[in-house]
């Protein structure tokens, strides 16, 4: 019977060295290609849903900033109250109370939603069970302050618990 590979000469009673190395080389090539494909193609994230959540949160943020509020018998909106509270710290508690009520009424108390005003984080009651500091969204709305500074405001409607298992 004619052999498939005439160069693979083997000793009587065992496989040839060429056969052994061909299998080894094949397994190595398979592993190398799998790793290359895994670390290139496998790491491309599918971000469409994430962008959609950004749109929803941005729209909700615009409505939050437009919400009317009575401050010292004068009607203004949340955006104006934010600007005012950066100058007058006495207004901060009113801002926090009003913003928390809006978030909890609209998104429920079980869900963790957060309004970020510069470094300040106003969270809903649902965030109480979450450990650690949550990151604010990158989608910020700039509000001009009374001192000429820009106040960055962002909103995230559904913060997921931190994955502490993957933390170092």
């Amino acid at each position: 019977m004619k052999q498939f590979c005439p160069t693979a000469k083997h000793k009587k009673g065992g496989m040839g060295l060429a056969d052994f190395f061909s299998i080894l080389a094949f397994v190595l090539i398979l592993m190398v290609f799998y790793l290359i494909l895994h670390f290139t193609i496998g790491k491309i994230p599918f971000k469409l849903s994430e962008y959609s959540t950004n749109v929803e949160d941005s729209l909700s943020l615009i409505s939050i900033l437009r919400t009317p509020v009575i401050v010292d018998n004068a009607e203004m909106n949340i955006a104006e109250l934010i600007a005012l509270s950066s100058k007058d710290s006495a207004k901060k508690s009113l801002l926090e109370k009003t913003a928390t009520k809006i978030i909890e009424d609209a998104f429920g108390t079980s869900r963790c939603a957060m309004l970020c005003i510069n470094e300040q984080q106003i969270k809903s009651n649902g965030c109480g069970t979450l450990v650690g500091i949550q990151a604010c969204s990158d989608n910020t709305a700039p509000i001009p302050g009374y001192d000429g500074s820009i106040i960055k405001v962002s909103f995230t409607s559904d913060i997921q618990p931190l994955n502490l298992q993957s933390a170092p």
Binding site: Q3, D19, L48, S49, S60, S63, T67, I102, D105
Partner: protein, 172 residues
């Protein structure tokens, strides 16, 4: 058949099996990283929710300047008898719309009143039963809720509100 010929045949069978393994390994490598099924239900239903949210059939429009305020729901438009028809005409999925349906629930957070309207009610009622039955596969449907915090324009007053859009799309 002598001993050597029998041995050669066993070795060749082994090699043939090895070639088959090589063939299937290449097939596996090629197919493992190709997405053969892309589930776009989330994107499709979010798109419908955004189209409804951005529609000037529900948003408040300043007639003097023609500006449409996204996120400010005009209660008069929302409660009008023509809204379902005008939504169907403005968000067009074909003459016979068997593609998308939704239920819009607007909650007045200040007075705790709920209003609701539908986009393509006929399909919504038909497919809602299938969603509740949790049937899967072709012929069935899926639903996805999208929530927005909105303002409600009730005559001259601006009230706080929450808009829930429950999109129901049939599985294709």
């Amino acid at each position: 058949m002598n001993k050597k010929a029998a041995f050669d045949m066993i070795v060749n069978i082994f090699r043939l099996l090895f070639v088959i393994v090589v063939f299937y390994s290449i097939l596996f490598l090629a197919r493992a990283f190709i997405a053969q099924k892309v589930d776009i239900f989330d994107v499709e239903s979010k798109l419908l929710a955004h189209r409804l949210m951005f529609s000037n059939e529900v948003s408040y429009t300043d007639k003097d300047i023609g500006r449409n305020y996204i996120g400010v729901i005009d209660l008069k438009k929302f409660n009008s008898d023509e809204i379902e028809e005008s939504l169907l005409n403005s968000i067009y999925y074909g003459k016979i719309n068997s593609e998308a349906s939704a239920k819009l629930t607007l909650k007045d957070l200040d007075d705790n009143i709920e209003y609701e309207t539908f986009y393509n009610r006929e399909l919504y009622d038909e497919k809602k039963v299938l969603v509740e039955a949790k049937l899967i596969g072709k012929g069935s449907a899926q639903s996805l809720d999208t929530n927005f915090y909105v303002l409600i324009k009730d005559d001259d007053k601006l009230k706080r509100g929450a808009l829930k859009i429950e999109a129901i799309l049939p599985n294709s």
